[in-house]
Amino acid sequence: MDKGQVLRYLGCRDWHQAQAISREMDRLVDRMIAECEELITPRYVWEITGLTFAGQHVEAGGLALPGKDIEAHLQGARSAALLAVTLGGEVDRAIRCYEVRDMTRAVILDAAAGQAVEEACDLVQAEVGKMADRDGLWTGTRFSPGYGDFPLEIQPDFLRWLDAARKIGLACTPTLILTPRKSVTAVIGLFPQPVERCGENCMYCNQSQDCPYRRS
């Protein structure tokens, strides 16, 4: 797991600050990363489907993907992969336990799990990439409900489209929170040529002005 990224989630802003972390704290971060890896059971489901750009919004396999931003993101794509990833509920429970007795560990484990789900997504993305490669296509970056004007409200339909509750035990609350908590849904476009869209995820984020995690 990328420890630097975990430290960043924990508010460690730069290399200097990382140097100032005590040896004990550094060891604790290592321990919690190891514990996180023990606790998670990454499960995922993805499916590639055709895209239709006609009408008011993009449609992926009969699922409407509303919003201008997702449309722009998928512009030029031949098809798209819809994916859902979850680390399972055990790490949620462990974080809850630590919140009761050892908040420091809770905070670190929470950050580690955040990074773990990103890395699980990267693996799925690589798998999608392999499939795309077979068809001579290139993958774009991941785009999730809640980015830009791609509404969170799509979450229930998105999960149902993937049959995610049955296949990987992933659901969402009526308030659109994914449960288990450490989970991601996303769309990846498959393009006929390589795509260069650096830092676009931050560009689409409505919190990016004062976000400590912003990528330059």
């Binding site: 924990l10 508010g11 600050q17 059971t41 396999g61 509920g89 009761v100 905070v107 659901a171 908590r181």
Partner: protein, 791 residues
């Protein structure tokens, strides 16, 4: 007329149908579509699918009603319409018996999600009632992962219909469900709740399921049902392809029946051809008569603890009798204290936890329900629901996930009439105390007689012998010295004469004597020697646990002393004593976040320094310094938290001290905090609570996903003037506004501070709050300003 389904099941292997979804997809059902709508749009297609399975030999048709809950069909009348149509179609297709198929609701139950037990029950009950009215012959609960959710479904079926219930769970390759339930735990819990058949469906093929099926068969008292997939799906051109063909599935079916399966069908990827192949193979086979292992077993949602063999420790600490801090936590609803007690006992090696929340001023049934739900959210240990209030017992066992113990029933007629039906209905084990209308017999023989009566009465209520445990009652040796041996003898007698497992609280024996642990430990060892199964004790006492661990070696329970060696093998190194560094040292302990040292340091300082001075002259200056460093970027979040925890632990010492010396705890002000309805992001709010408490504020924490009405009620009850609300999602900020509006509409004069990832000054105005706290330290600054304390 057809014989009754349940009569047939005794004598014949019952063939169910195969996949419905697979068939519908072949006929144009698209991803994301609601399959049950096809009952209305394509009835002829469904009829033909049912007919194909019936012709293949299936005798129970599962109606196309799997997901027909109001969560997916919210329009009024829609659930009824879809279920009636589904049952009707299966009936018209000529099914001998029609099953109302009911799957999970598609949302996670609390604490993982926000779906509450009562809400799940209500949704299931609606499906069950309509299904029975529409003419279903049985309920097929299938593809469940969460034992808690399927318990809600079972109770909904039992309390609202008279239909037989068949219940299956879905396991992954690791032998557990998505939420961690194993087949033994599910089997023991479901059959104790009174389902008529149980087993496994979906996810894996028959070959992979075989070892899991064997676990189910070993414990099942009722027929075992298996509906496997046609192997593990492989993706080919974006389609799931199942590899086990009809003939191969048929071969496995024979093996399954020989292993003890009495009801068999198929799940994903199976077709009428599979069902026909099973039918050919199993025709004429008779079901194997169940020979379940006789066990005394308690379960949580994910774990089973056996109590009939060896020693299982029941942790006694969640019981307010004689515990000031716990009483206070219960009164103030400070769940984190209670959860801490649960986790500490689990770490110390408890196998089960006793939960008693009896305080005269509390609404015991309501508190019991809440505490049970909270504790089972953090620990996998089974619980013992302990109360003399029958309503509290019922609420506790109802909201419990798994198979609890009830503590207790006794030999009084009234007690047996009230408690045994509860144990039966909710499938609980029950602890019987050997006392009756005439009190506690003074001889072991007298207690045995009451135990015998308890057993007879339990059996008459339909409770199995294995599910009754006897507590022959420990008396105080300083008052009745001859009674300790009678109790010990009663343990042995109950075991020998009745074959029942025994429970015994050990701590009372030493009441009124010095060196109580010494007496208790010896009594414990003696009782274990007499065959005691489940001592109720304080697992945080090292001596007791050492005695238990040693006994487990001597009795052979701890095979090859593996656990003992693991725990005690590296003993000998004592932790270095904390150096005495003068009082300034407390400030550096806090700044450096050395949380193991602060409690000892404060204890030592209390000999010369007043508690209030420690707060004002040490805690607050140190925390301010930490806060400033954090703001400058010299510290990062975990370091800030660690300092806050260091103070938190020191504060515990202050609290104890003030209680013992009878000082009133003066807080800087009372603040109510909550994560709003629909939101389950708790960590930020919990950090805020800790930091506010560090600064001496009294914080009432309502928890997460707190209904709007509860915020209003608590604000009124607690007469607070400042309320902190947390929300992390744009979708839950709306509930923040609703909470604020409701408190204001109730005419309460409260100010609001709000926080959470998506919040901002702008959002604060939008929701009608007064202050925006960008982090935990900011919430302290706001509180200081509000209550008029210096920064």
């Amino acid at each position: 007329m057809l014989p009754k389904l349940m009569d047939v099941i005794k004598d014949e292997v019952i063939l169910l149908d195969g996949a419905m979804g697979t068939m519908l997809q072949r006929h144009g059902l698209k991803a994301g579509d609601l399959p049950e709508l096809m009952n209305l749009t394509h009835p002829e297609l469904l009829t033909s699918i049912h007919k194909a399975y019936l012709e293949a030999g299936a005798v129970i048709a599962s109606a196309n009603t799997f997901g027909a809950s109001a969560l997916k069909y919210p329009n009024p009348g829609q659930v009824e319409e879809v279920i009636r149509a589904g049952i009707g179609i299966a009936r018209v297709a000529g099914a001998p018996w029609v099953g109302l198929d009911v799957g999970p609701l598609g949302q996670l139950m609390e604490p993982m999600g926000v779906l509450r037990f009562d809400e799940a029950y209500r949704l299931f009950a609606q499906q069950m009632v309509v299904g029975e009215q529409a003419g279903a012959d049985c309920v097929l609960l299938e593809t469940f992962s969460d034992l808690y959710e399927i318990k809600a479904a079972v109770l909904a079926a039992k309390e609202n219909t008279s239909l037989p219930i068949f219940a299956t769970m879905t396991y992954q390759g690791d032998g557990r469900t998505f939420v961690g339930c194993d087949p033994i735990t599910a089997t023991l819990t479901l059959q104790s709740l009174g389902v008529d058949a149980l087993g496994i469906n979906c996810s894996l093929g028959p070959k992979e399921l075989m070892p899991l099926v064997e676990q189910v068969v070993r414990y099942a008292k009722v027929p075992v049902l298996v509906q496997a997939n046609a192997g593990l799906p492989e993706m080919a051109d974006g389609q799931a392809v199942y590899s086990v063909g009809p003939e191969e599935y048929g071969e496995y079916a024979v093996k399954l029946v020989e292993a003890g399966v009495g009801m068999i069908g198929g799940c994903c990827g199976t077709t009428p051809a599979h069902i026909a192949a099973i039918d050919r193979r199993i025709r004429g086979l008779r079901p194997v008569k169940p020979r379940p292992a006789k066990v005394t077993a308690a379960c949580s949602g994910t774990r089973t603890v056996f109590l009939h063999q060896g020693v299982a420790v029941i942790g006694e600490r969640i019981n307010p009798t004689g515990k000031k801090r716990l009483k206070e936590a219960l009164r103030e609803g400070r769940m984190e204290y209670i959860l801490g007690e649960a986790l500490d006992q689990a770490d110390a090696g408890a196998d089960l936890l006793d939960v008693n929340v009896g305080l005269p001023e509390l609404d015991e049934p309501a508190v019991m329900a809440r505490v049970v739900r909270e504790i089972q959210g953090v620990t996998p240990l089974p619980l013992q629901i302990d109360s003399s209030n029958v309503e509290a017992l019922e609420r506790g066992v109802r909201y419990y996930n798994g198979r609890p113990l009830i503590n207790s029933v006794n030999g009084k007629r009234e007690s047996m009439a009230a408690v045994f039906p509860l144990a039966k209905k909710y499938g609980a084990l029950v602890v019987g105390l050997t006392l009756d209308e005439n009190g506690i017999p003074s001889t072991a023989q007298g207690r045995l007689e009451i135990a015998r009566r308890l057993l007879e009465n339990a059996l008459a209520h339909g409770i199995s012998k294995e599910d009754l445990l006897i507590d022959p009652l420990t008396l105080t040796v300083s008052a009745q010295q001859d009674q300790a041996v009678e109790t010990l003898e009663a343990v042995a007698l109950v075991k020998r004469e009745l074959g029942l497992a025994t429970v015994l609280g050990v701590s009372n024996v030493s009441f009124g004597l010095p060196a109580r642990e010494m007496i208790n430990t010896t009594f414990l060892a003696a009782a274990l020697g007499k065959g005691l199964n489940a001592p109720i004790l304080n697992p945080l006492s090292k001596r007791y646990m050492e005695t238990v661990d040693a006994f487990r070696v001597l009795s052979g329970q701890d095979r090859d002393a593996a656990r003992f060696v693991e725990r005690y093998g590296s003993q000998g190194k004592e932790p270095a004593p904390v150096k005495n560094m003068g009082e300034r040292a407390l400030i550096s302990i806090i700044i450096q976040g050395r949380k193991e040292e602060s409690a000892a340091k404060v204890k030592e300082m209390l000999e010369t320094v007043e508690p209030i001075e420690i707060v004002d002259q040490y805690f607050i200056p140190a925390l301010n310094q930490v806060g400033a460093s954090y703001a400058k970027g010299d510290l990062f979040l975990p370091q800030l938290i660690q300092s806050a925890e260091t103070v938190q632990r020191a504060f515990e010492v202050l609290r104890d001290h003030m209680e013992r010396s009878g000082q009133r705890r003066e807080s800087r002000g009372k603040i109510l905090i909550a994560t709003v309805e629909g939101d389950i992001h708790d960590i930020g709010k919990n950090i805020v609570r800790m930091v506010l408490e560090n600064y001496g504020y009294g914080v009432i924490d309502l928890g997460k996903d707190v209904p709007v009405a509860e915020v209003v009620e608590a604000a009124r009850r607690e007469r607070v003037r400042l309320i902190g609300l947390s929300a992390l999602m744009t979708t839950t900020v709306a509930n923040m506004k609703r909470s604020i509006d409701a408190v204001k509409a109730a005419g309460l004069d409260c100010k609001f501070m709000v926080g959470g990832a998506v919040l901002s000054e702008e959002y604060k105005d939008l929701v009608g709050a007064d202050y925006y706290a960008k982090d935990a330290l900011d919430s302290v600054a706001i509180a200081n300003r509000f209550f008029g304390w210096p920064e």
